[in-house]
């Protein structure tokens, strides 16, 4: 799997979302990448009032736990693997999340609007 392409699409997705275009929001699936114990994008903008599927790809070799008290979610993602987490329907607002195993660097926020 060409990871460069995936990375590029993640960036494209992030910028697309930041610009507010609903281009990738068709099936309410949003992608996150964990690399070097950081989330990319660190900000995910999702529609409020809808169920969302977060697809999280961990490119590090070490496991990570996606954890969010605001979203009431926790999920261990093994090294070099991808996992899905369903969230919402959310009220508009900011929902912070962390990678619990690397809380200092792995931080992000879901923004529902």
């Amino acid at each position: 799997m060409p990871s460069v392409f995936r990375f590029a699409s993640a960036i494209a997705l992030a910028t697309g979302l930041l610009a507010g275009t609903p281009a990738f929001a068709a099936d309410d699936e949003f992608k996150l990448v964990i690399e070097s114990h950081k989330f990319q994008p660190a900000e995910v903008i999702v529609p409020a009032g809808k169920k969302i599927k977060l697809v999280i790809e961990n490119r590090d070799t070490t496991p990570e736990e996606f954890e969010s008290h605001a979203l009431n979610r926790e999920k261990v993602i093994a090294g070099k693997s991808t996992a899905s987490v369903f969230i919402g329907p959310l009220k508009p607002g900011r929902y912070e999340f962390v990678g619990e195993y690397n809380e200092n660097t792995a931080k992000g926020v879901v923004i529902a609007q």
Binding site: P63, S81, I87, E103
Partner: protein, 278 residues
């Protein structure tokens, strides 16, 4: 090091509290120490296996295997805790009597012991596997496995076990008159809290609807990450932002087990109870 200690502490605390409460609740059952130890050892072995198979478990059930696995483990624990409480309700009086030296052999104590072995084993397995993964992550990280972080992990484990033991020791000081009622209520809350957690995993896997996300938000008032919040979370299943479905599960399990306890409690001959509690 402190951050590591805190993370490990949080994981260990829940299992330690469950072991502490179960150990106290079964104080009068002969040979329960051996069963408890076996439960902890089996749980640790299971935790290592689960940690090693994280990837395989995750891939099951089209990517939500971890949630289904956790919900199943919690579900089994709820059933076992329910069984334990109902068993105690019908034997509690006799147990209290024997604990006071009045005598009396408990016949089906053996089956009760295997139930508590499973509960303890599952609690250690669930929290232990996450601790194993976390510590493995530290050990394998490219920044080098710093000894201070591993020391932090060990400190976290020790602190978690210490709190679990404190709860156990504290419970043993409860006068025998109220003892089985007290542990019965604690176990009842444990079971209901686990049912609520199971519901959360099933919502996360999109198997169940959430009904309301969240039903309430008390994270400003009493955050579940604070020390009192963490303790309440482990003991009575407190959550600052629960989904509606979790509360449905919580209440349902609480009412069903509670009603069963009440029913059985009133059933046994009053004379035994009087003798035991006088």
């Amino acid at each position: 090091m402190l951050a590591t200690a805190i993370i490990v502490f949080r994981e260990v605390l829940e299992a330690a509290l469950i072991v502490g409460i179960i150990a106290a609740a079964t104080r009068a059952i002969p040979g329960r120490n051996r069963w408890l130890a076996a439960g902890v050892v089996a749980g640790l072995a299971g935790a290592a296996i689960v940690a090693l198979s994280t990837e395989r478990i995750a891939e099951l059930a089209s990517g939500v295997g971890q949630e289904i696995f956790n919900a199943t483990v919690l579900g089994i624990a709820v059933v076992m805790l329910a069984w334990h409480n109902l068993w105690m309700s019908s034997h509690g009086a006799a147990l209290a009597a024997s604990a006071r030296g009045v005598g009396g052999e408990i016949r089906d104590g053996r089956r009760e012991c295997s139930v508590l072995l499973i509960v303890v084993g599952l609690a250690v397995l669930r929290e232990g596997s996450e601790t194993v993964l976390f510590l493995y992550g530290i050990a394998a990280s490219d920044g080098g496995a710093s000894w201070s972080m591993l020391a932090g992990g060990l400190a976290g484990i020790a602190a978690g076990i210490a709190v679990g033991y404190a709860v156990y020791a504290g419970l043993l000081r409860v006068p025998l008159r109220w003892f089985f009622t007290a542990t019965g209520i604690l176990v009842l809350f444990l079971a209901a809290g686990m049912a609520s957690q199971a519901a959360r995993f099933l919502i996360q896997a999109d198997v169940l609807p959430s009904l309301a996300t969240p039903l309430w938000d008390t994270s400003a008032l009493l955050p579940q990450t604070s020390i009192p919040g963490t303790l309440l979370r482990s003991l009575v299943g407190y959550e600052d932002r629960p989904a509606g479905m979790q509360i449905v599960f919580f209440v349902l399990v609480f009412v069903v087990i509670g009603a069963g306890m009440k029913l059985l409690n009133n059933a046994p001959p009053q004379s035994v109870r009087k003798q035991a509690t006088s």
